[in-house]
Amino acid sequence: MIEVKNLCKSFDGLQVLKDISTVFEDGKTNLIIGQSGSGKTVLMKNLVGLFEPTSGQILYDGRDFVRMSKQEKVRMRREMGMIFQSAALFDSLTVLENVMFPLDMFSSMTLRERTKRAMDCLDRVNLMGAEEKFPGEISGGMQKRVAIARAIAMNPKYLFCDEPNSGLDPKTSLVIDELLHGITREFNMTTIINTHDMNSVMGIGENIIYIYEGRKEWQGVSSQIMNSTNKRLTDFIFASDLLKEMREAVTQQHQNS
């Protein structure tokens, strides 16, 4: 479980995150949604330690990440996995070497065990047969799956995903969503996903946090979004005509019944 308490972050006097407090629960797919520039990525970068918060606390199962020493943070980070928007695979390494990288770096397994573990992870993301390819030789969706395999190789307790569906077609996005949701359940991880994708919100959002101009505006589950009265949230969620019509249809159905 990750608890965020009164988190603030400023850049040169400009406050980007304003007093955010929330809880990300174990075994759940937690989604952070919000418009571009609302502070989602900054919040995630604070959570993983790429940015230092201006004030506030980030508690990983009660351990205060902000107050930890550098060494403790390094140890803590070995319990985290992260999937970047661009996948951030190492260009000079093959798919298998990319997945093996954290194992090579930190595990005490033998080469045979490390290879087996990496192959299992690739199998989990349905990428068997691509292990000898380089990141430049595979599609964007495959790169994202390699990134997921690399992130879960060390059995992390906390998984962070920064817009995992960006640049992917709707069908591949669904595959990625199901994969992340499945892995979260399977390994009882605390998964936090930054997303704009409404399919993800409706499909896998078990705990959704809506950020508006650096502030936590709303928190709930996907089923509550449909009936939410928060104007900013509904304006954001139902920005497309299709979703607007869907919402009206649902409301109509409720009134009729």
Binding site: R75, R77, F84, S86, F90, D91, F101, M105, F106
Partner: protein, 261 residues
């Protein structure tokens, strides 16, 4: 007038502030770089790879340039210095001294600053903008140590060999002018190459090149590691890295030559 002086003073102070800030950041990065690697197995793999990529892959261009420069120096010495009043060994002697004392260490490192420096800055810079360095940091890897230390140590290891190869090839170039172009008598050249040979000059050349090897790997690594933005900034960082490395090589050459002579 006073206002103009104040403006000049302010500009000078700003320059000094920026230079000190950059130096401070560079020292912090080097502090992170020169720490114990997490896994020696991975460090060794990177070290061997960098030796091959930065050093062994540069041997070709070093040999080619050294051969022609050796030949050109010998021709210039023969045509412009050699006269009936000069001893017949003078062309060979000056060719050897120039190759050994300056070309094989300083000028060759200036050339390598262009080849190796831009390669390092663009490689690390691209890793930075594509979040590969962030990925390393989040895994708990000391990214500076993992990426930069093998480059610095790899180049330091291979540089003495490049200096020796360069000197040897320069002398072969000089022999080329003697045997192929018949510009100088081979015996005169041999006499000059052997005249008043001071073995310390070889060591001096190697010691200087080790300092330069550090500059042409550490400075571009800094520029690449601290790049922000996109591909345009990576290109700018690469150019800045080459310019700064070249300037630092030339400045340190003055001090090192004075110190070691």
């Amino acid at each position: 007038m006073v206002f103009q002086k104040m403006l000049t003073f302010a500009a000078g102070m700003k320059f000094l502030y920026n230079a000190l800030t950059t130096f401070g950041k560079f020292m912090i990065l080097m502090g992170r770089t020169f720490s114990l690697p997490e896994r020696f197995r991975m460090f060794w793999k990177q070290y061997v790879k960098e030796m091959s990529q930065l050093g062994v892959d540069s041997i070709g261009i070093v040999l080619l340039i050294s051969f022609f420069i050796g030949a050109v120096i010998c021709i210039q010495m023969k045509l412009n210095i050699q006269s009936p009043w000069m001893p017949r060994w003078v062309s060979g002697y000056t060719t050897r001294e120039i190759m050994l004392l300056e070309f094989s260490s300083s000028i060759m490192c200036l050339i390598l600053a262009g080849k190796v420096g831009s390669n390092i800055a663009s490689e690390i810079g691209t890793m930075r903008v594509t979040q590969q360095i962030d990925a390393l940091d989040i895994m708990g890897v000391n990214s500076a140590c993992y990426l930069i230390l093998p480059k610095i140590l790899g180049m330091l290891t291979i540089m003495p060999f490049l200096v020796i190869f360069s000197s040897a090839m320069g002398i072969m170039g000089a022999y080329g002018t003697a045997y192929i172009a018949h510009i100088i008598v081979p015996d005169d050249l041999t006499l000059g190459l052997q005249h008043s040979f001071n073995p310390w000059f070889v060591w001096m050349s190697i010691i200087k090149s080790l300092f330069f090897a550090f500059i042409i790997t550490a400075v571009p690594s800094y520029y690449g590691y601290t790049v922000e933005g996109g591909s345009v900034n990576v290109g700018k960082a690469s150019t800045d890295a080459v310019v700064m490395s070249s300037v630092l090589i030339l400045c340190s050459d003055v001090f090192l030559t004075q110190l070691l002579s």
